[in-house]
């Protein structure tokens, strides 16, 4: 009964069925949670904030603190300035944040609230206490996706705070892209292995993977500090991971503080991690540490060991642009066949990039930006796959088509682990590879007739 998807694909305009994206503000909220002492603020109706907090909580199983302008009928006519000004007073009086990160919503964008003006006026009128910081990003829900909101909020922090003192530091800026807290930890381990002083923005580790302590920390101990964000302006270089999530902040740093930057793929999988590691090596001027080389070797070793189970297996991948591109390359490199590749987000460049990645191995792959899970399901009905990689929402397809699903991306509402174990880097790749191999082998075991059940695999 859950399968209500017709196999015949017809063109649809302006209609998403089972969306593969959410809206900008939730991305802005996630980014802002990666700044220490920051209270994300949703300038819109109460429901936006409640939904974003609930959804983030469902994914991370963690408390998520954010405030709302609580729009009314009146604010929708006269604008939300009064609400935002009141909100500043409430927030600083009650929750004492070091920094407030305002993001807009479809409502406040359409009304046309001018956030910088409201911030300036509030500061003049003393509604923002001395020494407290307020930043903002415009995140209209009717443009882009949650990734756009994330990207804009990270750039917003840079825009308001990064400054060059005229003296270059030895630091490297790292914009990690939309990854899990555990990935943030792993990325810091990589730069530390190359002895590169690093400022990473945002950093949701020790925020959305906080330990049980017996207390509720309204502002958990993690997050990039304001001082660190300011110092990004003096850094000698910016590494931006993931074009969709991180380019805007890197570009802003270049424009504002003349920090040169390069954009790399998210270091998920072997080749993308190789490129990340090369970049770190060239920035640090040192050789790749042996420990990292060994981790690489282990990943290659496992792929070799299990090649017979991976080779030729067809895979469907969906999620956010940066993740899907990296996953596609990784699957291809493990000799799998990514036959359906889709993002709910936007960007012709996504289709071009994936097409180029698969030009030799899967020239007839289905590739689509701005897709939804109904389309993905239709593709799979027309060309079944051995395994799928995607969000929790794929579980409906998984059940309907009896196809294993390896959960990856945002959101994962029905499993734990994603926030605690990294997917980036070689060891992260090892985890991903073992998840895929396990899914394939378990399916083989389940389907094998008695005589063919393999004990040793």
């Amino acid at each position: 009964m859950l399968d209500q998807t017709p196999a015949t694909i017809t063109e649809r305009s302006a209609l998403k069925v089972n969306p593969a994206k959410t809206c900008q503000p939730v991305g802005a909220m996630y980014a802002a949670l990666g700044v220490h002492g920051c209270l994300p603020h949703s300038h819109g109706s109460q429901g936006c904030c409640a939904y974003h907090r609930s959804h983030l909580t469902r994914h991370f199983k963690e408390p998520v603190m954010a405030s709302t302008s609580s729009f009314t009928e009146g604010s929708s006519v006269f604008g939300g300035m009064a609400n935002l000004q009141q909100a500043f007073q409430t927030m600083f009086a009650l929750y004492d944040p070091e920094i407030v990160a305002v993001h807009t919503t479809c409502l406040s964008e359409t009304i046309g609230d001018d956030i910088p003006t409201i911030i300036a006026k509030s500061r003049d009128e003393g509604k923002i206490p001395e020494g407290k910081v307020v930043v903002h990003a415009n995140t209209p829900s009717y443009v882009g996706s949650h990734v756009t909101g994330f990207s804009s909020m990270v750039a917003g922090f840079v825009k308001y705070l990064a400054a060059s003192t005229g003296t270059r530091s030895n630091a490297v800026n790292l914009v990690p892209g939309w990854v899990e807290p555990a990935d943030m930890v792993e990325l810091k381990r990589y730069t530390a292995a190359f002895a590169l002083p690093t400022i990473m923005l945002p950093d949701t580790s020790s925020v959305l993977d906080a330990p049980a302590t017996g207390t509720h920390a309204f502002y958990p101990k993690g997050g990039t500090t304001i001082a660190q964000i300011r110092a990004m302006g003096d850094a000698r270089h910016t590494l931006a991971l993931g074009a969709w999530a991180s380019t805007a902040a890197a570009e802003q740093l270049r424009k504002q503080c003349q920090v040169p930057f390069e954009v790399l793929d998210l270091p998920i999988g072997l080749a993308a991690t190789d490129r990340f590691v090369s970049a770190l090596a060239s920035l640090s001027g040192t050789a790749v540490p042996q420990a990292i080389e060994d981790e690489r070797g282990r990943l290659v070793d496992v792929i070799n060991d299990m090649h017979q189970y991976l080779a030729g297996k067809s895979v469907a991948i969906w999620g956010d642009q940066d993740q899907v591109i990296a996953l596609t390359e990784f699957c291809r490199d493990m000799d799998m066949k990514p036959v359906h590749v889709m993002t709910g987000g936007h960007g012709q460049a996504f289709e071009e990039r994936v097409k180029a990645l698969l030009a030799d191995s899967v020239p007839d792959a289905n590739i689509r930006q701005q897709g939804d899970l109904m389309l993905m399901h239709q593709w799979i009905k027309n060309r079944p796959v051995d395994v799928m990689i995607g969000t929790t929402y794929g579980k409906f397809i998984s059940r309907a088509e009896d196809t294993p699903l390896v959960r990856f991306g945002w959101p994962i509402l029905d499993r734990v682990g994603h926030s605690y174990f990294a997917s980036v880097g070689y060891t992260g790749g090892l985890r991903l590879a073992t998840q895929l191999i396990t899914a394939i082998q378990e399916r083989q075991d389940r389907d094998a007739p008695d005589h063919a059940l393999e004990l040793v695999m």
């Binding site: 994206k21 209270l39 009314t72 409430t90 929750y95």
Partner: protein
């Protein structure tokens, strides 16, 4: 704790003689646990399983409400899909009526639903799409009821969303062919959403008593049943906060009396069933009800007594959507030997809080529309052993090392009725006595 000046009217000890200021919007800037008008409408109508639920607006509102409510259907699963017009910038500028009409045509053609609900989100209200006109056009084309739900998020609180949903249900009941002569010995269950199959249990009790359930609004809901709802002899209103308005309108329009009841806890479940028997039944119904209550009570009491031994004297806090659930939970907890030391709701009214105060001890904290800082402070200062709330509250309780029970959308086991009371007690017992609490540092304010 120090409360924000604006919040002082919303928090009191039950015995300190101050009225609770309720029904206000959250203070702007607060980390409110509340949602919006759209959310209120969406949760009420969501369980109608053979209807198409199309969210008109940017993709988020449809995404966040995709299959988040464990409202089970015994048949169609159409309500578990997520449909959005995915409004983009060009529609914001030029209007979204054309794309709405297109989406409705495609979806009605594909799924042949019994009716369609079109939810207006914030932006639709601002750009001024005439959702009603589009619905009328599509209704004329397709022949099924296409009902606009005026659920623009900014229009008010979640409660206003309930009102919009009630309006949509009345619209459905008022269609030609709906209604008819009153069915003797019949009721509607109003305001149960069949989370974890609870409506099925309540329905089975009523049927065993010889009472026909015409419609459940809206748990395991079907459009046909809802259109027959005006034929019931009585409305049993469970979720009073969301559905009393509907019951009043049905009383005014079809002379159907209503009774506010609750199926949470033994006492309340028994009282609800006796009330139904008394109002629409006869001597036979009453006899059957007595037998049912007797046998169900007898079946659950030993297990409850066993669980109670570990729970006696433990301290509970609750923060729930509506006041009626809070009343029932206070009584249900008392049945387990537990004291409610803090009780709050998202949508309770002034009178509700007065009633709540009469149920609890004088030093119990009563709070309207609270926030995480207050909650965490209350949980610690009141030395709470169990917190009952929803998705956003759960991790706060766990961080504090306090047991938690979800009595909201994400509960997985039915907690209603006699059998549900045992499930509730088991869940409470499991979390309160979890060995995990002995593994974590428990930093509490000294008594």
């Amino acid at each position: 704790m120090d409360l924000l000046t604006d919040r002082q009217g919303s928090v009191a000890r039950a015995g300190d003689g101050r009225a609770i200021v309720a029904g206000r919007r959250s203070v702007a800037g607060s980390v409110s646990q509340r949602a919006c008008t759209f959310c209120g409408s969406r949760v009420v109508l969501y369980p109608i399983a053979d209807a198409l639920h199309l969210v008109h607006g940017p993709v988020g509102c449809a995404g966040y409400t995709w299959d988040i409510r464990g409202a089970l259907s015994s048949g169609p699963q159409l309500h578990r899909l997520s449909f959005s017009t995915d409004m983009r910038e060009q529609e914001v500028i030029r209007g979204g009526e054309k794309s709405l009409a297109h989406a409705l045509r495609v979806l009605i053609g594909r799924h042949r639903p019994a009716c369609a609900f079109v939810y207006a989100t914030c932006i639709v209200g601002v750009i001024g799409d005439d959702v009603g006109a589009v619905c009328r056009t599509i209704e004329a084309e397709t022949g099924i009821p296409v009902i606009p739900v005026a659920s623009e998020g900014f229009k008010g609180t979640k409660k206003d969303g309930y009102a919009a949903a009630c309006g949509a249900l009345l619209d459905l009941m008022g269609r030609p062919g709906a209604g008819g002569p009153t069915i003797p010995k019949s009721v509607n269950i109003v305001g149960d959403f069949n989370v974890a199959g609870e409506s099925w249990l309540i329905r089975s009790y009523l049927e065993r008593m010889g009472i026909e359930v015409v419609a459940c609004l809206t748990g395991d809901g079907r459009v046909d049943d809802i259109q027959r709802a005006p034929r019931a002899a009585l409305n049993l209103v469970q979720c009073a906060g969301s559905m009393t308005r509907l019951a009043k309108a049905m009383r005014d329009r079809w002379n159907i009396p209503f009774e506010q009841v609750s199926f949470i806890g033994l006492e309340d479940t028994a009282a609800a069933l006796y009330k139904a028997a008394e109002l629409v039944g006869d001597a036979d119904t009453l006899a059957r009800t007595r037998e049912l209550v007797r046998s169900e009570m007898a079946a659950v009491k030993p297990e409850l007594a066993r669980l109670r031994t570990d729970l006696e004297g433990r301290r509970a806090a609750l923060y729930v959507g509506g006041a009626f659930k809070a009343f029932s939970l206070v009584r249900a907890l008392r049945q387990l030997g537990m004291r409610t030391v803090m009780a709050g709701t998202q949508t309770g009214g002034g009178d509700d809080y007065e009633h709540l105060k009469s149920l609890v001890d004088p030093d119990t904290i009563i709070a309207d529309d609270t926030n995480p800082l207050e909650l965490a402070a209350f949980l610690q200062s009141e030395r709470v052993d169990l917190f009952i709330g929803g998705v956003k509250e759960r991790p706060i309780a766990y961080k504090l090392g306090i047991g938690f029970c979800d009595h909201n959308h994400e509960r997985k086991i039915g907690l209603a009725g006699f059998a549900g009371m045992v499930s509730f007690a088991r869940e409470v017992h499991a979390t309160v006595t979890s060995p995990v609490w002995s593994l974590m540092p428990r930093q509490r304010v000294a008594p």
